[in-house]
Structures are given as C-alpha cells and as structure tokens.
Amino acid sequence: MLARFWGTRGSLPVAPTADIIQKKIAHALVASDGRKFADEVEAEKFVENDLSFAAGGTYGGATPCVEIEAGNGSYLICDMGSGLRQFGLDSMRRNAGGHPKVYNFFLSHLHWDHIMGFPFFVPAFDPEAMIRIHSGHPDAEEALRRQQEEISFPVPFDWLRATFEFVTLTPGETYEIDGVKVETKLQHHSHGSYGYRFTDITGRSVIYSTDSEHKLEKMAVEAAFIHFFREADLVICDTMYSLADSVSMKEDWGHSSNIVAVDLCHEAKAKTLALFHHEPTYDDEDIERMHQETIRYEELTRDGPALNVICSYDGLEVRL
C-alpha cells in the first residue's frame, strides 16, 4: 500500500515567486561556504543532506489530491484539487505501460479547491477510460458539471469521452471497491465533508480526513473519529490552523489543527500522522516550523507508543 501526494495545499493553489526562489538559492550558496561540487548530482546531495527541507525544497502549492495504491490495480484517488492535473498526466504514462484505465475517485466534498483540477484531468477525454466518482454527496455530478458550464470554463462536461459513473456512499456501510475495503464518515464542514478509511487485503489502512472541523462544544463526538482512525497505519489529516486560530477568528471555517490531529491519533493508536491541507498564506519555513512544533507536542503528550508525525508535500510518497 502506498500514498502518493499530488496536492497538499488548502483553499487556494500557491506558487513561489522569483523573490522566494532567489532567497533559497542565496541561502544555499551561503550555506555551501565556498565548497566546490564536481557535478549537479553532488550538489543535489548537498541540498538534500545539508539543508533543511524548507531551505532546499518546497512543500508545493497544489490543492488536495492524494493517490492510494492498493487493491487490484485500478487507480484510487482522493479529491480533485489542482494536483489532479499532474496525476492525470502521470497516469497516462503508466497507462501506456499497461496500467488499467480505471479511475476510482473519492471526494471529501465539493468545494472549489477539491474539484478545480477536474477540468484539466486529461484522461477524462480518453474513450477507453472508466471514471467512477464516489462521494458522500448526492450532488457531486451537479458540482462537476456546473464548474464546466460556459460561464466558468470553455469545455462542457458532455464533451468528455470517458465512461462516467457517480456513486453515492453512505457512512456506516463498508464497500469493497476493486479489492479495497472503503468506509466513509461525515465530518463537520460547510455543506458537509466526508472522511475515508481504505483497508487493503493485508489489513493495512489509510485514513483521508480533510476539511474537518472538530467543534469546541462537541468534543464528546470525537469518540466516533477515534474509532474511525483506530490503529490506522497512516492518517492524512487537516491541520490547517493553530488550535488558537481554529477556536477564535477562524472558528466555523471548517478546519482543524495540528494539536487536535495528534490527540485524535494518539487516542486511536494510529502509527503515522501526515499533516495536510496546508494554509496557503504559509511559506515553506512556516510549514516546517509547524511540523517541528507538532513533533514536539507529540513528544510532550505521548502516553503510549510513539506517533510518527510527517508533513505532506507535493510529490511525497509514503509506503506502508
């Protein structure tokens, strides 16, 4: 089982400006301290080993799209954020090598940042492709058609050539989808959102829980989330805000915090937490700081086995 992150940013796609790239290069040159490199491979090793991730790389700026490799070989994709474009192109490369052209999507919800990649999903034009869109929302088809209406986009949904199927999933049910057990859970967010639990034939499990606010006055219902996350190998969790922001000026904006995510994972005895749906105003250093602080909070409050806290970035692959 493998999770591949194609988009990890929340709300709005972002990209580094020339100024930011210039600062990263300048920082690397100063850090190299006059060292000479035989070739680019050696220089890349220096970047990887001697610079922090934020200094030598970037968390990326595409909105949510996560691929889960499991089951019998069809694609499993959570959400259609702007990261979907790159996934679509990569999947066509894999299709050319014989990969089945069957795409199983699982939508957390229908807000723009989670569906904006779909009009740029090239396999939708392939008449041999089968695209199955699972959602807790019965209005998923309406949302995808609406964003391709003329007022918003030049290519209408009906021009797409793939075979489409829309499937509405019900929380509490367990579905067997192309060799993977799938469960869904309603979450607190505007128009509702759904978390997913994927379990492969070996019992390994991945949770995808984004755009999920854990309300102050409803802490008692968190027991249901702890059960949903139970002993998961990987929990991909909305950690957009600090706890203070999530209960003050950004209350009711529909998102969670790194602190609550750690507590839920601790209680659920999950093995790895992936911080996800990064705040678009955060730069790489902000996200790295949030990651380090989350690791520290996990250490301070640990009362059992250690929880591995990783920070998702566009391009990250986590093998379970």
């Binding site: 802490m219 706890l243 203070a244 209960v247 507590d263 301070l300």
Partner: protein, 111 residues
C-alpha cells in the same frame, strides 16, 4: 486531576493538579464552570487558573479553557492563567494559546 478554589483579593483562584486529557476534560470543565459561578456570586472580576500542580494539558483541556473564557465573558469574569510549568509553557506556545490568554509566572504576579 483534581482542583480546589481559593478567593484571593479580587480573584477566584482555581488550582489544578494532575493532568487534563481525554479522561479528565469533562471534570475539568465542570470545575471551571463552577469557579466562574463562584466568582460571579462573590462579585469577583477575575478567575485565575493556577497551573502550578498541572503536569500537562492536551487539546481537550485547552479547548475547555476556551469554553470557560466564553462563559466568563458572559458572566463578567475574566479568565487568566498563572504559573505554567515548562511543559505547559511549550504547549501554550505551540497551540498559540499564549496569544489568547493572559499568562503570568505566578498567581501573585497576576495584576
């Protein structure tokens, strides 16, 4: 986790001992609501939560603090924190709760 009340000057002081986590947050919330009610009845303007004896507090406890702060606002009682240990100081900084609450080094230092 347990707690006790002590009236000092213009403040009701609630001293917390032990730790506040998933097992104890409900009792902690009851204690803080009780403290606000006592402060209001005694016409005190402040409730100081004395963290000297607190080992640590998870997000559950932190969120209970927010609920108490709101209850206090409705009752005209300002909720403040005093004397966090090093662990709690870090947790308050990581959660950014140090931006939401007035925090003093000791109960006596609370203005």
């Amino acid at each position: 986790m347990d707690y006790s009340f002590d009236e000092r000057g213009d403040a009701m002081v609630v001293a917390i001992r032990g730790r506040v986590d998933e097992a104890t947050w409900v009792a902690f919330g009851v204690g803080l609501s009780d403290g606000i009610e006592k402060a209001q009845q005694a016409r005190l303007k402040r409730m100081i939560i004395d963290l000297t004896g607190l080992d640590y507090m998870s997000s559950r406890g932190l969120r209970v603090l927010t609920v108490a702060k709101r209850e206090g606002q409705e009752a005209g009682v300002e909720v403040e924190l005093a004397s966090p240990n090093d662990v709690m100081r870090e947790i308050l900084a990581i959660s950014r709760y140090d931006k939401l609450f007035k925090i003093t080094d000791t109960v006596e230092a609370a203005p």
